[in-house]
Amino acid sequence: MTGDRAGNAISARQIYMAYGKTEVLRGIDVSMPQGQTLALLGPSGCGKTTLLRLVAGLLSPTSGEIAIDGQMVACPSLFVPPEKRGLGMVFQDYALWPHLSVAGNVAFPLEMAGINGAERQARVKAALDRVGLSAMADRSPSALSGGQQQRVAIARAIVAEPRIVLFDEPLSNLDRELRETMVAELGALIRGLGLTAIYVTHDQSEALTLADQVAVMEAGQIAQLAAPEDLVEHPASPKVAEFLRLGAVLSLTRDTGGWSYGGHALGPMGGPEASAAEVLVTPRALRIADFGTTALSGEVMAVQYRDTAYAVTVRLNQAAPAQTVQISSDTRMRLGERIGLEIVSDRLRWFPARTQAPVH
């Protein structure tokens, strides 16, 4: 992501953020064009919320530059406070003001922008209509359910028609069913309004559903920035693959006869010209076979019905520390059933061995 700021809704260059000696962000470079949605995905503590708050102006970076719509908002000589950045934001805890009514909450951004009277009322109503809550306008936010509060927070974020809306894990406090409906609604809303959005989440399915670009963050750095389909097809590292829960990552060693896992020969299977490597085994890269007919075998640990098939967790017999893989099965399998696993070698994804390859 180099210099050219023009045409980008948001660009961040070489962002470092430290609290005392703890570095939270270590050299973030990211930029996104108008009208796109960028998801910041990562485990808790990876710095994704910090990055969002830096864009919002709620924090100021230790070093680096941030520009919004080509205008510098944070750099060594300048800091634009949050109220001058013209953003919308949805907070994880909703952050609805308990002393204002639902309408009062939604009207606040307009009030701050100096929009009064009939226009304010009309726009508040339109925003509440959009989230289906206009009947609740005079209620106190505390009288609403979690999902309704979240909709109020969304109405408040879009009412002033900002170009950019920031979402800080907006759905993490909702239960799963509601979360799935809200993801779809949010996606429709973002596209319908042509918003540029940054969406922070630790849920990979939300990120993959909503975003045009996903930045997978790890320990204060961006591990991979790619479109969802690229991310799934070509994860940049075993860590990214593990975080996206694409499958199991196994450490293999190679000798003259080909690859072996935990001392059990698996055959040639392609792969890099190295004495050790890691391989991502997705459910699609495994086929169930009769026990004893394959090099890899295991025992069924858990069976879960998901969508149209059974997701089966299998513990590998060949692994010294316990290692499980996931496969998909059309039939329900018994717990404890012993099965053989056939590897589909052209569906494997290879990575160089991590610095110290485990030797078996």
Partner: protein, 557 residues
């Protein structure tokens, strides 16, 4: 590399400026005066010369010893009276429990110097006790045990309420668990309830200690005749009687501050280290047991304490206020409303004093409310550098007794080189009240801010509010209920504050407390007590009216 950051919020700047004027300046001048004895002449000559002499002075050591002794005795007696009552109230079904609570709250509303005047009227020779029973207890009253007795009756409710609440909460939450696992009620009390209640008890006792060593009215009214000098009365003597000894007063003040600060830090340490009250919910009173045969002895104890702490002083005040002459005694013929009509007729400057105190009370409530809210914001919510210093400045007044604040204000604002000064105007009283009472709004506002999620303010900023607008529109309304309660407390206490008023009130300005005090010294006790009665009514009724109006408007939150 200097980085551009967000400018420091104006609310933090106002808080810092206010804290410097109200807290830092008087405290700093005490320190300076103690070190530089010739400060008053604008000279920094001979530093530490007075300090060494004063600290070795056997009189100072004696007064410090007296102060500690008084504090300690009041603590012990308060614990002896309050702990049994509190445990009985918390664990057993005491008939009329709520009434006893109200009766034990009243001593809070009677300023100690008024209560002590009531006790003098009762126990002195030819006092009400002698008129009714034929003997007087003057020898007891004007002695160290007498001082301890009167002060304890004013302070024991602190321990009573703290301990009964802790024991009730702990009893219902943890002791019941011990019962389930096989402990008898008595064992559960000794092994669970008592250990868990100790921090609450210790903290309240330390508060009593701090209150006792700062108290002026009781030792001043009773101790002089007993030849019992404490630090507070000795400081008063040095600043108000010829020869004025400001370096001496500053050094005694420092000693008092050290004692008071020690007690305060210890209390804070205990509470932060092991606080069980804060984490637990509402006490449930379902599990309370019957008193059985102990019912009447316990009730008698409650009644005796209520009579001594609330009934007797109130009745003595009322009787004196209603007596045409004191020498006329307790006879029907001697009862009339002449003292009240003299007050309302303003023949003695009473209405003016009342007006002065009420306006100062309102002003102090407004100033401390604003300053307390801003300071608590700066300490709790802002990330501004140096907020540790602000934190110290908000905590410091907890350890500054009224007399010390008064001395500090004299030292700071009576410097000859100052072009303008609030000294000799009513403004100096306002400064004194604000410094003494600032801890109340700070404490309430701090607790309220801790309950407000950081994102509420962040959201306001993102949606276009400047720091000041976010404070005014979002944070202030959210802490308003707590802050208002604290401001009512400030109003009630500032209106009748005695010690700083006696020391710094300008010539010709009298407050409620100096008016009462002067009437007593001049022998017009009836007028003083009528004023005291009116004051208790006003300072109790006004906050109650405001609170009930607030309640009727529905919950502010």
């Amino acid at each position: 590399m200097a980085r551009a950051r967000e400018a420091v919020s104006p609310s933090v700047v106002i808080a810092a400026a206010g804290l410097v004027v109200v807290v830092a300046v008087p405290f700093l001048f005490i320190l300076l005066q103690a070190v530089f004895p010739h400060l008053g002449r604008g000279s920094l000559a001979a530093p530490f010369s007075a300090l060494a002499g004063a600290l070795g002075d056997p009189k100072l050591i004696g007064m410090t010893g007296n102060t500690l002794l008084l504090g300690l005795l009041v603590v012990v007696l308060s614990a002896l009276i309050a702990v049994p009552l509190a445990v009985a109230r918390a664990l057993f079904r005491v008939p009329g429990a709520v009434i006893w609570d109200v009766l034990f709250l009243i001593p809070f509303m009677i300023p100690p110097y008024i209560a002590v005047l009531g006790w003098i009227m009762t126990l002195q020779p030819r006092g009400y006790l002698e008129q009714l029973a034929g003997f007087d207890l003057a020898a007891f009253l004007f002695s160290v045990p007498g001082i301890v007795f009167v002060m304890t009756l004013n302070t024991f409710p602190v321990v009573y309420f703290a301990v009964s609440r802790t024991v009730e909460t702990v009893g219902s939450r943890y002791a019941d668990v011990a019962r389930v696992f096989g402990a008898s009620p008595l064992r559960a009390f000794w092994r669970v309830t008592l250990p868990l209640s100790t921090p609450g008890l210790a903290a309240s006792l330390l508060l009593v200690f701090a209150m006792s060593i700062e108290e002026y009215g009781t030792p001043a009214a009773l101790g002089r005749r007993a030849g019992f000098d404490v630090l507070v009365t000795a400081i008063d003597l040095r600043v108000s009687d010829w020869p004025i000894d400001l370096p001496g007063a500053a050094i005694l003040s420092l000693v008092l501050v050290i004692l008071s600060f020690g007690a305060f830090l210890l209390q804070r340490w205990i509470l932060t280290r092991r606080s069980y009250e804060a984490t637990t919910g509402k006490p449930q009173d379902a599990a309370k047991r019957d008193l059985g045969v102990w019912k009447f002895p316990v009730l008698a104890l409650f009644a005796a304490v209520a009579v001594a702490a609330t009934g007797l002083p109130l009745l003595a005040i009322l009787a004196t206020a209603l007596s045409r002459t004191i020498s006329g005694g307790l006879t029907l013929a001697n009862l009339d409303l002449s003292n009240f009509s003299a007050i309302l007729g303003d023949t003695t400057g009473a209405l003016k004093a009342l007006g002065t105190s009420l306006s100062l009370g309102v002003a102090a409530a407004l100033v401390t409310g604003l300053l307390g809210a801003l300071s608590a914001y700066a300490v709790v919510k802002s990330k501004v550098r140096g907020r540790g210093v602000l934190d110290v400045l908000t905590i410091l007044p907890n350890a500054l007794p009224g007399i010390v604040v008064a001395v500090g204000l004299i030292l700071a604002w009576n410097q000859p080189w100052l072009p303008v000064t609030p000294y000799n105007t009513a403004l100096i009283l306002l400064l004194a009240y604000c410094c003494i009472l600032l801890p109340q709004p700070v404490r309430y506002a701090t607790a309220a801010f801790h309950q407000i999620g950081d994102n509420l303010e962040a959201a306001a900023r993102v949606f276009g509010a400047s720091p000041l607008v976010a404070f005014r529109r979002i944070l202030l309304p959210l802490i308003a209920p707590s802050l208002l309660a604290a401001m009512l407390l400030v109003f009630a206490v500032a209106t009748r504050e005695l010690v700083a008023s006696v020391v710094v009130a300008p010539v010709g300005v009298s407050t409620i407390s100096t008016y009462i005090w002067r009437q007593f010294e001049q022998g017009s006790v009836g007028l003083g007590m009528a004023m005291a009665f009116i004051t208790i009514l006003i300072t109790t009724a006004l906050p109650l009216i405001v609170l009930s109006l607030m309640g009727r408007r529905g919950n502010l939150l």
